[in-house]
Symmetry: C2
Subunit: 648 residues, 2 copies
C-alpha cells in the first residue's frame, strides 16, 4: 500500500510537472552558461562582451536539478524493483548519466569552472529523452530502420563516387595548355573538392552555379549535372523517405496495438478484482460480475478528466443495479475514447423585448462576420499605409490619419467585446476559445492605446510618436493590431475542404511532442559539440566598424561577402541558428567552405554529419509522421480509432 | 470481321511503333525549328549564329506527322463507332487539335514561315498525352486532387500574406532617420518585394541571406524567419505531399481493380463464347465447359509473349481432355501474372578433361569476382592518376604509365570475354544481360584502343596523345574505361538489403513512363510559352569577348555576376535547361530578379506558375509514385499481386 501511495504521488500532476520543469531548466542553462548568449547580436563584428555568470551560480542551479533527478531515479527504482531495474537498460543508463554528471560537476567546481571540457552538458538531453516513452519508441523505430537506410546510403555513396570520378575525367579531357577547363578549376580541382561539390549538388544547394562554367562552354555538359541530380536528389533521396515511412508506419501501428492491448488487460484485471470481491459474498458462479455501486465507489478515487468521469458514470447508471459482465465492463471504458462536446452556459435571460432583440442580434453569427470585415478593413488600412510609407524617410512619415483610424478600430473592438458579453453573459463569452483570444487582444490593444494617448496626446496633423527604447508604444499598438488578423483564421474551419486539412494539422500538433523532443535532443548535442569544436574560430575582420571596405576584397559568394558573421558557434543561441541554417541546406556550402578555411578540412565531417542527421533523417521522419496522421484520418475504414500518434 | 482485322492491324507492334515514332518526331522538331538549338553553347556571349532550316523543310516533316495522326484518328473513330466517338472527350479533343494544327500549318506556310506565333507548337504535346491511357489516368488523378491542393494552397497564401504584412511592420517600426532598417531596404522595401522574398524563402532558396541584415542587428529577428520556414516549408509543403499521396494511392488502387475486373470480364466472355460452341453440339447442361483442344486452337492465334503462351499451354495440357469449368478457365490465365524464369542455353560439351576443368573454372562465379577486382584496380589507377595530375598543367602531364596500364586492362577484358564465350558458348554468353553489357563495353574499348595505338603509336615515355577535335581518341578510351565501373553495380543485388531496394527501383522505372510523359508535356508547353515570351530579351553585355571587366560592375549574387547568361529562353534546349534550374529551385530568385529587370515584373507570374507545376505538383507526384510502389512491394499482405503502377 505504501508503494501504491508513492506510485500515486509520483504520477500526480505536481510531481510530473516539477520533473518536466527541472528538465527544461537544466536544458535552458546552456543559454546562460559560460559562452553566454546574453548579447544583443551574434555577429562577431558588433558583439559586445556578454555578461558572464560568476562561478558557482549556474553550478548551484545545476546541482539542484541533478538532485531532483537523483530523487526521480531512486523513486523509479523503488517502484519497479531492483530485479526489474537491472534489466531495464534505460534506467541503468539514467543512473550512469547521473553519476557521470555528478563527478563532472565536482571536477568542474574544484577547477573553479576553468575546465576545458564539460562532459555533462553533452549528457543533459538524455534526461529529456528518458522521460518520454514516445520518444524512446521513436528512437527504437529509427534504429530499426537504420539497416535499410544504410543500404540506400551505400547506393548514394556509390552514386557520388561514380559521378565524381566520371566528372573529374570529363572535365580533364580535352584540356589544352592555353585554356584549362574552367569547370575543373572551379569545382573539380581535386578529388575531395569534387566530392564536396557533388555532395552539395545532391542537396541542390549549388545547383545552377556548379554547372555554369561547363554549360557555358558546351550545352552537352548540362546532361551530366541533370542526370546526377535526377538520380541522386529525385530518386535516391526520395527512396530514403519511402524507407523511413515504411518502417515508421509499421512500428507506430504496432505500438498502438500494444498500447490498446495493455489498456484492455488493465480493465480486465480491474474487473477481476472487483468481481472477486462479490464472489466472496454471493458465491453463485452464474452471477459473476461487477456491482455498479462498487464500480462507482472505485471510480470516485480514479484520476481522470471530469467530463470523461461523468460520461462513464452515466453509462454505469444506465445499467441500474444489474451486474456488469466483462464485456459490458470493457464497453464502459470505450467512453474514454469519445471526445466530449463542451456545452456552453445558458445565455442570460432579459425581460424587455428590446433587450431580447439586441441579444438575438449580437449573438447571431452574422455579427461575427461583421467583426471579421471590420478587422479586414483594419488590416487593409495598415497595408495601405505601409505601401504608402515604403519610400518615405522615417522622419517625413505622417501618422495622423493612421492614428485616428486606429482609435476608431480599437473603439469598435471594445464595443464588440462589450456587446458580446451583454448577449452571451460573461461566462458564455469566455466559453468560446475564439472569444477569449479576441478579448485578450482587445484588452491589450485598449491598454496600449490608452497609454499611447496619455503619453503622446491625441492625434493631430504631423503627429509623430517618438521612439522610446527599442519599440515605441505606438509601434507596439500597430504590431498588436496586426495580431487581430488571427481572427480570420477562425473562418477557415467554416470552409469544407479547409476544415479537414486544419483538423489534421491540429491533430498533428498534439502528436508532435515526441518529434520536437528528438529535434531538441539532436540540436542540443550538436550545438554543444559545435561550441567545443569551433568556438572563437571565426574572427571579426579588420576595420571592425565599417562594412564596405572589409567587403570589397572578399570574392562574391564567400562567407565574408555574404556577411554570414553571425553564423558562428561562439555561444549556444548562435550555434542553434547556425545549425538551423545548415539544416535548411540552402547555401550551406558557404558555411562549409568558411569553416574549412578557418578551422580545417575535418570540419566538413561535422557539417555533413549534421546534414545527415537533421535534414535527411529528421525531416523525412517528420514527413512520415505527417503522412501517417493524414492518411489515418482520411482513411474511411478506421474512422473510429484515435489517430496513431496519440498513444503515450 | 473486317473491323476485327483492322483492330488487329492497328494494335500490332508495327503500327503502334510507327505512331510512337511519329509522336517522338513531332516533339523533337522543336529542337531544330526556327529558334534552333543547333549551337554549341546557349551562352549569349559566345553563341554563334545557329543554322536555320529553310522554310518548308520542317513544315514538310510536320505535315507528314500530322497526316499520320489524321490516319490514326480516323482508324480510332472507325473502331469505336461514331456514337462512342461523340461521347469520348479525348477523341473529340484529338480531332480539334488536329484541325487547329492543320489550319495553323496552312497559315504558317502562306506567310512563308514568318508568322509571329505558332499555335500548333503548343498543342503538340497533346499527341503524346492522348496516346497513353496511363497518362490520362494520372491526369484525372491530379485533377481530382486539385480541390484539396487548393485548400492547402489557400492556407499557404494566407500564411504568406500574414507574414508579409507582419514582417513589413516589424522591420519598419523603430526605424530612425539616420539608420533606416537594412533588412527593410534589402528585402522588405515594398509589398510585392516582400511577398517575393518570403515566397522564395518558402522554397528556402534565399535562406540565410534574407535574415542576415536583421539577424546581425538582433538575435530575436531570427525567430520570425525560423517560424515562417517551419510553418511554410516544413508543415504546409509536406501537407501538400500528403494530400497528393493520399489521392494518388486511392486512385491507382481503384484503377488497378477496374483493370483486373476488365480482364476477368474478358476471360469470362471468352469462356462463354468457347463453351457455347460446345453447348450446341452436346446440349447437356452438366457438361458446360471448354474443351482444352478448342482452347489451344484459339490460343495459337492470340498475340502474347511466347513464354507466357508456353506456360498456359502446359497448364491446359495438364487438364487432359476434361472440360474446363469457368473457375479453372480463369485460373489458367493467372499464369500471365507470374514472371517466367528465363532458362539459359546449355553449356557446350567438351570432350577433353582439361577443357572441362577450364570450362568449370571460367563459368564459376569466382571468375566474375576476379573480373570485378580487376575492374576495381582499373578504376583505382584512373583515380590515382587523376589526383596526381590535378595540379599539373595539361602540357606537362605524362600519360606513359597510364597508357601501358590501360593496354593491360583492355587485354584482360578481351581475354575475359573470350574465356567466357569459350566456357558458356556464344549464346550462353549473350543470355546474361550483364555479359552483353560487358561485352559491348569491351568491344568498344578494344576498337578505341586499337585506333589509338594506330594513330599515336605504342606508348613510350613522354608519350602524349594530341587532341583531335573535341575529344581525342585517347580521352575517349579513358571515358569508356570509366564505364567499366558499371560492372560493380552487378554486385549490389548480391547484398541482401540492397537487393530489395534495387528491385524496387527497377520496378519503379517500368512504371515511370506515365510520369516521365507528363513531365515532358509540362516542360514542352512551358518551354514553348517561355520562348514566345522571353526570346531575345537577355542580351549579351558590352565587351563581348572578355569576362572580367563586364563582371566587375555587377553586384554580387546578381544574374550578371553569377554568369547565368546561358539560362535564357532563346532556343528550345536552352529553355529546357533554364526550366530545369528553376524546377530545382535553388537560386531561382536570381533568374526571377533578372527577368524582372530585363522583361518586366509580370514575368514573375510565369516563373511562379512553373514552380507550382513542376516543383510543387510534379515532384510530389513523383514522391507519391515512389512511396506507393515501395510500400506495395514491402507490404507482406499483397505479395502476390503485381505492383500497382504496372497497369496499362
Amino acid at each position: 500500500a505504501r508503494s501504491m501511495c508513492l506510485y500515486r504521488w509520483y504520477y500526480s500532476n505536481l510531481c510530473q510537472r516539477t520533473l518536466s520543469f527541472t528538465i527544461f531548466l537544466i536544458l535552458f542553462l546552456a543559454f546562460i552558461e559560460t559562452p553566454s548568449s546574453l548579447t544583443r547580436t551574434a555577429d562577431v563584428r558588433y558583439r559586445s562582451l556578454p555578461w558572464e555568470p560568476p562561478c558557482g551560480l549556474m553550478e548551484g542551479v545545476e546541482l539542484l536539478c541533478l538532485l531532483v533527478f537523483v530523487a526521480d531515479v531512486s523513486v523509479k527504482g523503488y517502484l519497479v524493483g531492483w530485479s526489474q531495474f537491472q534489466r531495464n537498460l534505460w534506467l541503468l543508463a539514467y543512473l550512469t548519466v547521473l553519476v557521470v554528471s555528478l563527478v563532472d560537476w565536482t571536477v568542474s567546481l574544484s577547477l573553479l569552472c576553468q575546465e576545458p571540457l564539460r562532459m555533462r552538458r553533452l549528457l543533459r538531453p538524455f534526461f529529456l529523452l528518458q522521460n518520454s516513452s514516445m520518444m524512446k519508441k521513436t528512437l527504437k523505430c529509427i534504429r530499426s530502420s537504420l539497416p535499410d537506410m544504410a543500404s540506400v546510403g551505400l547506393l548514394l555513396a556509390i552514386h557520388l563516387c561514380l559521378f565524381t570520378t566520371f566528372g573529374m575525367l570529363l572535365f580533364t579531357v580535352g584540356e589544352k595548355d592555353m585554356e584549362p577547363n574552367r569547370e575543373r578549376l572551379a569545382y573539380f580541382r581535386s578529388l575531395p573538392e569534387a566530392l564536396t561539390s557533388l555532395l552539395v549538388l545532391l542537396t541542390t544547394a549549388n545547383n545552377p552555379d556548379v554547372m555554369i562554367p561547363a554549360y557555358s562552354k558546351n550545352r552537352a555538359y548540362a546532361i551530366f549535372f541533370v542526370v546526377f541530380t535526377m538520380i541522386g536528389s529525385l530518386f535516391l533521396m526520395n527512396l530514403l523517405t519511402a524507407i523511413i515511412y515504411n518502417q515508421f508506419r509499421g512500428y507506430l501501428m504496432k505500438s498502438l496495438q500494444t498500447s490498446l492491448f495493455r489498456r484492455r488487460l488493465g480493465t480486465r484485471a480491474a474487473y477481476e478484482v472487483l468481481s472477486s470481491r462479490l464472489g466472496q459474498a454471493g458465491a453463485t458462479p452464474e452471477a459473476v460480475g461487477v456491482k455498479p455501486q462498487n464500480f462507482l465507489q472505485v471510480l470516485q478515487k480514479v484520476q481522470m478528466t471530469n467530463s470523461h468521469k461523468q460520461a462513464i458514470m452515466e453509462k454505469v447508471h444506465s445499467y441500474n443495479d444489474t451486474l456488469l459482465s466483462a464485456d459490458e465492463f470493457q464497453k464502459v471504458f470505450d467512453e474514454l475514447d469519445k471526445s466530449v462536446i463542451k456545452e456552453h452556459p445558458l445565455k442570460p435571460q432579459y425581460q424587455s423585448p428590446f433587450l431580447q432583440t439586441a441579444q438575438f442580434l449580437f449573438s447571431h453569427y452574422y455579427f461575427d462576420y461583421l467583426g471579421n470585415i471590420i478587422a479586414l478593413g483594419n488590416l487593409v488600412s495598415i497595408c495601405v499605409f505601409l505601401v504608402q510609407d515604403a519610400d518615405v524617410l522615417p522622419r517625413n512619415r505622417d501618422d495622423f490619419v493612421l492614428g485616428i483610424l486606429d482609435c476608431i478600430f480599437i473603439l469598435y473592438y471594445v464595443l464588440e467585446l462589450l456587446l458580446k458579453v451583454f448577449a452571451l453573459g460573461p461566462w458564455g463569452y469566455l466559453s468560446y476559445p475564439s472569444n477569449v483570444c479576441d478579448g485578450l487582444l482587445t484588452s491589450i490593444l485598449l491598454v496600449l492605446e490608452i497609454s499611447t494617448l496619455a503619453v503622446y496626446g491625441f492625434p493631430h496633423p504631423r503627429w509623430k510618436p517618438e521612439t522610446l527604447g527599442l519599440l515605441s508604444l505606438w509601434d507596439m499598438t500597430r504590431l498588436v493590431n496586426m495580431l487581430i488578423v488571427f481572427r480570420f483564421l477562425r473562418i477557415i474551419p467554416n470552409m469544407k475542404p479547409m476544415a479537414m486539412v486544419v483538423s489534421t494539422v491540429l491533430g498533428l500538433v498534439q502528436n508532435l511532442r515526441a518529434f520536437g523532443g528528438i529535434l531538441v535532443v539532436v540540436y542540443y548535442v550538436f550545438a554543444i559539440v559545435g561550441i567545443s569544436l569551433f568556438r572563437g574560430t571565426i574572427v571579426a575582420p579588420f576595420g571592425n566598424s565599417s562594412l564596405a571596405p572589409a567587403n570589397g576584397s572578399a570574392s562574391c559568394g564567400s562567407f565574408e561577402q555574404l556577411e554570414y558573421w553571425a553564423n558562428n558557434f561562439d555561444d549556444f543561441a548562435a550555434a542553434l541558428v547556425t545549425l538551423w541554417n545548415v539544416m535548411v541546406v540552402n547555401n550551406w556550402q558557404v558555411i562549409l567552405d568558411a569553416y574549412e578555411r578557418y578551422v580545417g578540412p575535418w570540419s566538413k565531417i561535422y557539417f555533413v554529419l549534421w546534414w545527415l542527421v537533421s535534414s535527411v533523417i529528421w525531416v523525412n521522419l517528420f514527413l512520415a509522421l505527417l503522412l501517417e496522421n493524414f492518411l489515418h484520418r482520411w482513411d474511411p475504414q478506421n474512422h473510429e480509432q484515435p489517430p496513431a500518434g496519440s498513444v503515450e
